[in-house]
Subunit: 249 residues, 2 copies
């Protein structure tokens, strides 16, 4: 058996997310596993770098899977793309070390949240952006983002109230890019809790439109209470851009 | 009554085109007319610069409409965007001369046909591109395109066999841009017959992949017979980019 690393793109609009509890739901992992099983003719287990919520998209999700390895990486990729639905594609298949684990070995993840701020609806980007019509003061959002960068207990920004494991994470960078009609927020960190990027985005929006002060981030982090943070921004605006690993896998 | 020029964007995927024969069909013109009637509270007639086929998109379709003119152009635009479905947007509303007619006064139209040539399916562009996997020799397509530029009788490239009016048109430019995974063909002309851009694209693809010779364009034009030209490339790859008019309307 050989271990393969897959880089995956998907339009998450019609899916219940990467993986869900019940096996009958339409999930990206489920679709991939179906086609991999058909290719391998033995049961396969696909391990993702992490879950993405229902409706969230990916440009570079990563997963690994063990296969008998009678095909080349290119053949595996082409087979998957031939049988996957048109809203999921595998961009790269690489053979990796036996011990490689897409979740445990991930060093960082980068997410992009796209906010359409223009007055004219974005017809072609409508499924990948969140339209926000209240004017935003980006400098306030940047100030607030500064308080979030670093290692913190992000319990207040975790959507899972029953979370028993550590809620400490490190955000390496929050970069906000402004164009005429769009605000792009790039988040890079060593890992993100359930809904974390969407709750941070919702909070930054409430700061940007003046409903909250940038300094509130400090007391929200301190208080570790989900109720004190902002709302969960919609899934459609979020895309998992990339997952990085050490060079030698 | 004032005359207004509207610039319109749409994702044509779920529509039967700009306008169709039967009034019950889902059309872009129909959707716009519904919202305009609601705004104007008098019957309105929306005149488009030309029809687009079912499934064809637009970045800059133009239409004109006469309204009582009690609102500003911005108010009309915002009202339309508030009530139109999310796959149609009005980007600009301008007051124009009483005599302005979006079809009669159009000087040129530019269409873009997007061909996805990459091996990896284009998840996010899938609704706006046509995937073509046979390798294409672009120099052959450019040579063939050269024969089409100019004033010709394009009867062989007309999808309407019952066409009784003149089938003479002038193509000002066919520009083919090549990127790693995509071929973009831009067509600019004084007007295009029904399906003309899609039939020309189908013919250029058959030339690009070696099934036909570039010089065949000359005999196809000469023969004026639809059967001799190539197939009609799918609607999803086509977008009406812009319609130009004299400055002073």
């Amino acid at each position: 058996m050989k271990n393969y690393k897959l880089t995956i793109q998907y339009d998450g609009t019609r899916y219940k997310g990467w993986q869900t509890q019940t096996s009958t739901d339409l999930t990206i992992q489920g679709k991939l596993q179906d086609v991999l099983t058909q290719l391998a003719s033995h049961p396969v287990e696909l391990t993702g770098s992490g879950r993405t919520d229902a409706g969230v998209h990916a440009l570079g999700q990563v997963a690994n899977v063990r296969l008998e390895g009678i095909q080349t990486c290119e053949e595996i990729r082409d087979y998957l793309n031939r049988y996957l639905p048109e809203d999921i594609a595998v961009t790269v298949v690489e053979e990796v070390e036996e011990r490689f684990h897409s979740r445990y070995h991930a060093l960082s993840k980068t997410y992009l949240y796209r906010i359409h701020t223009g007055k004219i609806p974005d017809v072609f980007g409508r499924k990948y952006t969140y339209s926000y019509q209240t004017p935003l003061e980006v400098s306030r959002m940047r100030q607030a983002a500064g308080y979030l960068v670093g290692t913190h207990d992000f319990k207040a920004f975790c959507g899972n109230k029953k979370m028993k494991k550590s809620t400490v994470r490190t955000i390496y960078e929050i970069r906000i890019e402004e164009t005429e009609n769009e605000l792009c927020i790039y988040y890079t960190g060593n890992g993100f809790l359930q809904n974390m990027v969407r709750i941070i985005t919702g909070t930054l929006l409430e700061i940007g439109d003046g409903r909250r002060e940038p300094e509130e981030i400090l007391s929200i982090l301190e208080g570790k209470n989900r109720e004190t943070a902002g709302y969960t921004a919609p899934a459609c605006g979020l895309t998992l851009c990339k997952v990085t690993y050490e060079k030698e896998h």
